[in-house]
């Protein structure tokens, strides 16, 4: 009982800190701090809170007008299909979605006649290594795997992301508006992810999705035990032992901070009305920050989302049990080649599976692939299927990958509609990344992350014609002025591209 109270206190403390952000903002009016209140505030301010967002997003949406895309077939990402539909974009947000002609349009709205075309929410890739394994691929740019220790929960992918990776522009031409860049899978704990808006920028901070929760990458199975064969873990049982040891450390670290905050708040209360001449009491000392344990404690607090690379069904079951042992949640199993074997277990635990349509055979744990994997995951009541790329090529065609996976499900009678399958590369990854309240569907009030497709996106011939991010037209296949070119590629001989950023 006491434990749970402590945990609740800690959450409150962290929540308060989150609201403050990087600055020591106060709820009190400036200048209103007098006497006891001021003293108490000063004492509260003395409480140490590790910054939750020390590399804050500087992303600001680019200029956008009011635009109506009308006459298209809409796949809203909420399971709805609207024939002859329209989307109104205003102030960077989706202002309205409905049938063409049913939307009241403000004066000065630019209208795009999209008859015969299709509109979806912006494509979201939950598993990318763009920027950390960029093109060109050379040792100088290889920044995705800190393969020096099985637990590198302390590293943050954003500190490796090279914003000049040409792969971002290719993904943009494939309709990708948001992506999660993950560290590689060499380690049991790979580090924090970076959730980015796919907007070209000089700095990674200017790409960071404002307010998106951090993810953490973990890896099961073959990769960690192969990479650390000589020093360990060299077996799957050691993989588990090392995860568990780390969670024990994380729980202890979390408690240290929880205890400190409780003591420090008590101290602040008791010393807020301290009078002159009172005996000087020593404030509680904050624990020393440990970046590795801070990330892991963030998982235990529910602030950091777990992205678990795991191929085998039996391992997924072990990982789910471990998450219960230590009181956290696995949001998504990534790669999940055998997810179809435990699709019921995943659904019962509210865990998504992010998979490829058909990659297989590159290692033994990828041997039992079936083309119906995503469809079978989806078919479970409450099942959550996501199509991911893990590839600078695949990320350009998540719509095609989804089309294949849907078609194979339908050929065994699963009856999956396009309007439902579109969620596999839009709303489901948004949900798993904790950003569904802001993007991932065509719904009024959300960020206007929108793709206009030349044809049905479930066709190999469809191409993203226009890609809007927060309402700004960031890619237009027909307008070279709306097609980004990275510093690395500019001025190189022989790459007079066609298709703009899609090269």
């Amino acid at each position: 009982m006491k434990r749970s109270i402590l945990a609740a206190t800690a959450l409150l403390a962290l929540g308060a800190c989150a609201k403050r952000g990087g600055e020591a903002a106060s709820t009190a009016e400036p200048g209103a701090e007098t006497g006891t209140a001021a003293e108490e505030k000063k004492a509260e301010d003395a409480i140490v809170h590790p910054p939750l967002d020390p590399y804050p997003s500087t992303y600001r949406p680019y200029a956008s007008g009011t635009t109506l895309i009308t006459g298209a077939t809409l796949f809203t990402g909420t399971g709805e299909r609207i024939e002859n539909g329209a989307v109104l974009i205003a102030d960077g947000k989706i202002a309205a979605v409905g049938g063409a002609g049913a939307i009241t349009v403000p004066e000065g709205t630019a209208t795009i006649d999209a008859a015969g075309k299709f509109v979806t929410p912006g494509v979201i890739d939950i598993h990318s290594h763009l920027g950390v394994y960029p093109s060109p691929s050379m040792s100088s740019t290889s920044d995705g795997n800190e393969a020096t220790s099985p637990n590198t929960a302390q590293v943050w992918a954003e500190h490796s992301v090279w914003p000049q990776d040409p792969g971002f522009t290719r993904a943009l031409a494939g309709g990708v508006t948001t992506l999660q860049v993950l560290p590689g899978s060499a380690n049991l704990f790979g580090g924090r992810s970076a959730v980015l808006k796919n907007v070209p920028a000089r700095t990674v901070q200017a790409m960071k999705f404002p307010g998106a929760p951090y993810g953490m990458k973990m890896a099961c199975g073959e990769n960690p035990k192969r990479v650390y064969e000589s020093s360990g873990p060299s077996t799957r049982m050691a993989n588990m032992a090392q995860y568990r040891a780390a969670w024990i450390d994380a729980a202890e670290y979390k408690k240290k901070w929880d205890d400190y905050w409780e003591a420090a708040e008590k101290f602040a209360r008791e010393n807020g009305d301290k009078k002159d001449g009172d005996e000087e009491k020593k404030a509680p000392e904050a624990p020393k920050r440990d970046l590795k344990l801070e990330t892991l404690a963030g998982v235990l607090n529910g602030d950091v989302i777990v992205n678990m690379h795991c191929y085998r069904a039996d391992e997924m079951a072990q990982i789910i049990d471990m998450s219960k042992e230590f009181g956290y949640k696995v949001a998504t199993f990534h790669h999940g080649v055998e997810a179809y074997k435990v699709a019921d277990l995943l659904a019962e635990n509210g865990t998504c599976a992010a998979v490829w349509a058909d990659w297989w055979g590159f290692k033994l744990e990828a041997y039992d692939s079936v083309r119906e994997n995503a469809a079978l995951i989806h078919a479970q009541p409450g099942g959550c299927a996501i199509i991911h790329s893990d590839s600078e090529v695949g990320i350009q065609r998540l719509n095609q990958e989804t089309a294949k996976a849907m078609a194979d499900g339908n050929k065994i009678g699963l009856g999956i509609t396009e309007e439902v399958a579109v969620s596999w590369f839009t709303s489901n990854p948004a949900k798993a990344m904790g950003i569904l309240d802001r993007t991932g569907t065509l719904e009024a009030g959300k960020m206007a992350d929108v793709v206009l497709w030349s044809a049905n996106p479930f066709s190999v011939y469809a191409q993203a014609e226009k890609v809007y991010i927060d309402g700004a037209l960031m890619y237009d296949r027909d307008d070279p002025a709306r097609s980004p070119r990275t510093d690395f590629e500019i001025g190189q001989q022989g790459n007079d591209f066609t298709g703009g950023a899609g090269q």
Binding site: K341, R397, K404, A407, N410, G413, F458, Y461, G494
Partner: protein, 429 residues
């Protein structure tokens, strides 16, 4: 949901009457037939197969007596797909040493002498999985290990039969560009110099083998490798050269001219920059239709327009699959080339008749024409579309099973209910 499932499976089974594998005469009727030959596309077309060979292609052909008739109304028929390169039958699991024979490790003595036929395993599960995707023939090619040459590649069929090698020693493989440079002194100068040395030695050996082995020489090249290169320097056997950069490609065209080689460019990310020269030299190119990233400085010019530009320049192109385990994605790759400007039938040719022509088997394979092997696929829609799958695959006129390890696993686990016995007792028979 489970109910739905069973209905769906029944519907699928009922939709298509299976042809007995032993049928001698087969009549495929009423399909849209892409012949990939002079007859072009035939609407409501028929294909008659007799003893494994196509005996007639046309409209309103009467089914011969005793023929197994396949009504393919609303379906599309194409020649079986031909994977222009692969490690088929040489690799089961990429990262597993024992089941991966695709290339020698480290500084193994031999290179050009290695022969895919020696390692080809017709029982590999990769074959049946590719076949279910409509692939009926492939080049099974060793990959270079520590040396420039990979070895002798074979054209194989995907029947899984013991005698499934169609043409052994159909091509030799070599890696140039930075891949070659990294093996020979870490400079492209090294790769080209060593390649010329090999060719010179092979010519010298071929001119007088007995004399060559008697001569004092450095032991740089093994006699087996030089012997294997004999058909290459004679200009008989195609040499598949892995190369991407435009300047390396131009070097290759010079080398081809100097040594009178029959070369095929593989990769060719910047081939479009030398399109007219490549066409004039009559050199075919096997491309990755989705390559559009500058992985290295030698492929800065990588573009999705490569296929269309090469085609327009008059180059014979073939389109590669993304990897051996996914040869079934040849149609998706070709479809993407179409989305980026390649004419539809040129894309289909790039995965059927063109690879057959590259390896000198176009008289038997690659198109639906009288006298050719009856490798054909009946599709449930546009064959290049990502939502289309084969409903029937014939190899040499034999109806192939579309079952494979993946469909068996799917059927085992599509119902996760506990049942009377564990999953291990289901569908294993």
């Amino acid at each position: 949901m489970i109910g739905n499932f069973k209905l769906g499976l029944l519907a699928l089974a009922g939709a298509f009457a299976a042809v007995p594998a032993s049928a001698q005469v087969i009549a495929v009727q009423n399909a849209r037939v892409y012949t990939m030959g002079a007859a072009g596309v035939i609407e409501n077309g028929d294909v008659i197969v007799r003893n494994g060979v196509i005996s007639a292609v046309g409209v309103d052909l009467p089914a011969p007596e005793g023929a197994s008739v396949i009504d393919a109304a609303g379906r599309v028929v194409t020649p079986g797909l031909f994977a222009p390169t692969s490690q088929l039958g040489l690799v089961e699991i990429g990262a597993d040493d024992e089941s991966n024979d695709a290339s020698p490790k480290g500084d193994f003595t031999l290179s050009a002498a290695l022969d895919a036929v020696d390692a080809y395993n017709p029982n590999s599960t990769v074959i049946a999985i590719a076949r279910a995707g409509g692939v009926t023939r492939a080049l099974a090619a060793p990959s270079p290990g520590g040396k420039l040459f990979g070895g002798k590649a074979a054209v194989v069929d995907l029947s899984g039969r013991i005698g499934s090698v169609t043409k052994p020693q159909a091509a030799q493989t070599v890696v140039m560009g930075y891949g070659g440079a990294s093996r020979e002194g870490d400079t492209r100068m090294g790769a080209w110099a060593v390649l010329r040395e090999y060719l010179d030695a092979a010519i010298s050996y071929a001119a007088n083998p007995r004399d060559y082995v008697m001569r004092p020489q450095d032991s740089r090249f093994s006699i087996s490798d030089l012997k294997a290169l004999g058909p290459v320097v004679a200009g008989q056997q195609p040499l598949i050269v892995r190369v991407n950069g435009a300047s390396d490609i131009r070097n290759l065209l010079r080398l081809k001219n100097d040594y009178r080689l029959n070369v095929i460019i593989h990769g060719g990310a910047e081939a479009w920059r030398a399109g007219r020269e490549i066409a004039a030299a009559n050199v075919p190119v096997i491309i990755d239709a989705t390559a559009n990233l500058p992985y290295q400085f030698e492929d800065l010019g990588s573009t999705l327009a490569n296929a269309a530009r090469l085609q327009a320049a008059g180059v014979r192109i073939a389109i590669d699959a993304p990897d051996t385990h996914n040869l079934r994605l040849l149609p998706q790759m070709a479809g993407n080339a179409v989305a980026n400007g390649l004419p539809y039938e040129a894309a289909l040719a790039a995965i059927t008749i063109n690879p057959a022509t590259m390896y000198g088997v176009q008289d038997r394979l690659g198109s639906l024409e009288v006298g050719k092997a009856a490798d054909l696929v009946i599709w449930d829609g546009d064959p290049l579309e990502v939502t289309t799958r084969p409903v029937q695959v014939l190899i040499d006129g034999r109806a192939m099973s579309l079952e494979n390890r993946q469909t068996r696993l799917r059927d085992r686990y599509k119902d996760l209910s506990r049942g009377d016995l564990p999953h291990a007792y289901r569908g294993g028979q």
